[in-house]
Symmetry: C2
Subunit: 119 residues, 2 copies
DNA sequence: TCCATATTTCCATTTTTATCGAAATATGAA
DNA sequence: TTCATATTTCGATAAAAATGGAAATATGGA
């Protein structure tokens, strides 16, 4: 992941409605839910919802798949995973800076891996 | 962490210059570096840099501390940690959705903890 | 076909954010 | 004091993003 890409993804999440949509899908699981169900749960008008859904799709945070008249949206977990890895990349010089998640991919840790996804 | 707060933090990171600043500080370690050094490394004019630094400070992603004529900025690791925990909260219904970081704080995992930081 | 529903696109408007020169402020050194 | 450097604030402008009604499109059922 490159910095411009990461910034776009973060900007997409940096809006209350889109973040709420994304979390709803993260918690809904791989099957996802359809657009109108999202709109009802969050109280967002059609046009606005569609705008946010396409924004989230464009940056790769969610995926939409049509099933008859509905479009089921689901979270793209791998994008979130890459984003978190990007944020934690080379962080804190080996100290335990992220105790809640253990997400820190320190130089010391990465030394034992075969491939480095970012260099 | 609440959703409005998380969205503000994500929006702050969702700008190429601010993300570059934040990563520079994440990798610089706890001592941090001063504003002019950031400006030189990233090629950002004074006024613009100051705007972004205060934005990052306001949402709690970085901290500035004056040392004589310089202000040393450093990353607030705990805010990043909380943000990542927020994103991964209740994700994916127990499946291994975040293999790169293992950051997923699933219901199954949390069942073994005493306190839940978000509920 | 005709209708109902799901979703998107169009469009005009409003709101928010970013940019950066110039001036102001802060600190310490000579 | 006077000067040099570090950083912020001011202010005007430009650029980008968000909003949502109305119309258009897509799909399947009657």
């Amino acid at each position: 992941m490159e910095i411009l890409n990461a910034a776009e993804i973060l900007a997409a999440l940096g809006h209350e409605s889109r973040l709420a949509i994304f979390r709803l899908l993260v918690q809904a699981g791989p099957d996802g839910i359809n657009a109108s169900a999202i709109g009802e749960q969050l109280g967002i008008p059609n046009a606005t919802l569609s705008f946010h859904l396409s924004h989230l799709s464009r940056v790769g945070l969610i995926k939409g798949e049509r099933e008859s008249r509905f479009i089921h949206y689901s979270a793209a977990y791998e994008t979130m995973d890459e984003l978190i890895a990007f944020l934690a990349h080379n962080c804190c010089q080996g100290k335990a800076c992220l105790p809640k998640t253990s997400a820190c991919d320190s130089v010391a840790k990465r030394r034992n891996k075969k491939t480095d996804p970012q260099e």
